[in-house]
Symmetry: C2
Subunit: 393 residues, 2 copies
């Protein structure tokens, strides 16, 4: 349990702002990479202005930038460019999420970077990608969710547009970028050379559509929002009980038979409408009505006891307060904390990647103050080798 973290020794220079890029570098930091944020002097990362706030400090920023360092550099000033380039000479990875073209205007386009720093891996995260007719358009998460089709299949039939309640456009782009960066790290062991990773929010939304494109390709029917059920599996939905909802997912014939038995309707397995998953899915509304009629007799918590005893995939609808007190969430260390800069501590989501050879700490180093690591970073650049991890503050 005491070998260095998997990305120990990987130095990430991080020009990213707001969410997609910072989420990517947070994942890398949680795996042991050293992440140095290079922020614009004065204002820094835009997320520093997004609430809620603790005193003057953004909790939004803190939760995404725990464990990183900060130096403020003006990439249009010669002196600061010199510092930035000395950092790049030591770095393994550069991550940025400016609009395409911005790095080129700064003289740090991929061709220049690759010529000067051949081992450097550079990841660019943008709304639409580095190529194509929309490349230079700006985007935030909701634009990618809307254009990327996921909003067209989320929500209730005939209802108003529904955004996924978390910024899944940014977050999946951050995850695909972390995957691309690590693939380039693996490859660099062979070739000795870095490469460029180009990930967009829009592409990432397309990539997580699961089988919606294949379904449309086969059936010609445009997928629509269908509430809380699954498009191809039934029963797989939220069902009303006497006092609230439970979710139940019976993804194959065996589980469906178990469900029928558990709720006292074994005869449904003989119903022509429900013999196979395909038939159950075509008759999902009728099946849901029958299930809800049966569930109306007892409370959600009573039914969950029955269904869990039958080993059926099921669960309650947790809100955030219930979630962070859930025994499994606590046991898995999925809520961690970091100092909030005001004498208290802030709770935030932990690392879902549990590795057998590494610790999964309950706390994180606090997010950095803007330019808060400047002196130490400058001193390190004069040393023969930059430390794998920052020193204690």
């Amino acid at each position: 349990m005491t070998i260095p973290a998997p990305l120990s020794g990987v130095l990430v220079v991080d020009l990213t702002r707001v969410l997609a890029g910072p989420y990517c570098t947070m994942v890398l930091a949680d795996l042991g990479a050293r992440v140095i944020k290079v922020e614009a002097p004065g204002r820094g990362d835009d997320a520093r202005a997004i609430g809620p706030f603790i005193g003057d400090h953004s909790a939004y920023f803190m939760s995404l930038n725990r464990g990183k360092e900060s130096i403020a550099l003006d990439l249009k000033s010669a002196e600061d460019r010199g510092i930035f380039e000395r950092l790049l000479a030591r770095a393994d990875v550069l991550v940025e999420n400016f609009r395409p073209g911005a790095m080129e205007r700064l003289g740090y386009g991929w061709d220049e970077l690759h010529a000067r720093f051949p081992r450097l891996i550079a990841a660019s995260i943008s709304g639409f990608g580095q190529t194509g007719p929309y490349a230079e358009r700006p985007a935030y998460d909701v634009v990618a969710q809307a254009m990327g089709g996921i909003m067209s299949i989320t929500g209730h039939p005939g209802g108003k547009p529904t955004r996924v309640g978390t910024s899944i456009g940014d977050i999946t782009a951050g995850l695909f970028s972390a995957i691309g960066i690590q693939a380039a790290l693996v490859e660099r062991h062979r070739s000795g050379t870095g490469q460029r990773v180009d990930v967009s929010l829009l592409d990432s939304q397309v990539a997580i559509l699961e089988n919606a494109i294949a379904r449309y390709s086969v059936t010609g029917e445009v997928p629509e929002p269908i509430g809380s059920r699954h498009p191809s599996i039934a029963p797989f939905d939220a069902f009303a009980t006497r006092d609230g909802f439970v979710v139940i997912a019976a993804g194959n014939d065996e589980l469906f038979a178990k469900l029928c038995e558990a709720i006292g309707a074994p005869e449904w397995t003989q119903d022509e409408r429900f013999r196979t998953n395909e038939q159950r899915n075509q008759n999902a509304d009728a099946l849901k009505a029958l299930i809800e009629a049966a569930l109306a007799e007892r409370t959600a918590s009573e039914w969950l006891n029955v269904l869990q005893r039958a080993e059926l995939p099921c669960g309650p609808l947790n809100n955030i307060a219930q979630l962070i007190e859930d025994p499994q969430v606590i046991s898995r260390n999925m809520v961690v904390s970091a100092a909030d800069g005001a004498g208290g501590s802030l709770q935030m989501a932990g690392n879902p990647i549990k590795l057998s050879a590494h610790e999964d700490p309950k706390t994180r180093e606090a997010a950095p103050a803007l330019d808060g690591d400047r002196q130490r970073i400058l001193a390190e650049l004069d040393a023969p080798a930059i430390p794998e991890k920052r020193l204690e503050r």
Copy 2:
């Protein structure tokens, strides 16, 4: 552009079924890993029974298993276990998404695997993880979405439960697993030893809550569904026009000023309610009503022209049919195709990780028939080294 793909030479033995595991190994395959599915004889991957179908073949299965190989092995038969173990001796990575305990019952728990195959990286994907009080409970995506809190913040205020329209529980678990596997590959270059990656659907849902936990931690208010707007940024929403919706996201003061100018209401920037993002967010409903009153004069496509000229982050709400014809999506090669086994081809989402040193092909090898690669794989096991990529069928 002609160096081998980043994960060339990585051999993945894939015991996974349905979605989370197959999505993980699809991502690895798209990056050049060789993926051999080991399926249960007779039935194979459960996803083979999930529609829609082309002839007898599941398009759902095809879209997730393109480019993989298949061998059917009964892991309770001595002969097949011998074959499986010869595969493991050559493999870099084993991925499985059985319920926790199943691998141990087969004699392939992590301790046994690690003792016999010390370089092997083993990833386990499960509903709740390998540890904790719920470890052995079964789960499908909707259970993780419900328990993981994302359904509590998705949908409209007071509305019915709303599942994210794609299986984001499975898919994010697949992505975090791919990240964990690659981190272990990077680490193995140093230590020479594999490790175990343990990822759950529930943990992955917690990890993508963005700032919901931090918000609750700071304010004590339980986050609720808020339709299509952002919890901390305004304006950032879908807005009705004369004939449909557009999404607009103005994440900072400059963009808000541009938006006011573009829709003919520059005076809003002087409104006390809208001076900062924090104030705009507190008055998001009033701001939305003003914006929609202004937008009611023209159509969505007219407004998108105006807003795009002003360089505002904005876009249409695309359905799947519109999405796959979008010039940017086409230009980015985000819809690829593979042979469907019935003489035609099936469209599916492409790879969102664009790498400068590697091709991004427009087609994929078809998904395998159950046990379809048996003879070749068995022959390869007798050869001194297993090929990096499968031979052409």
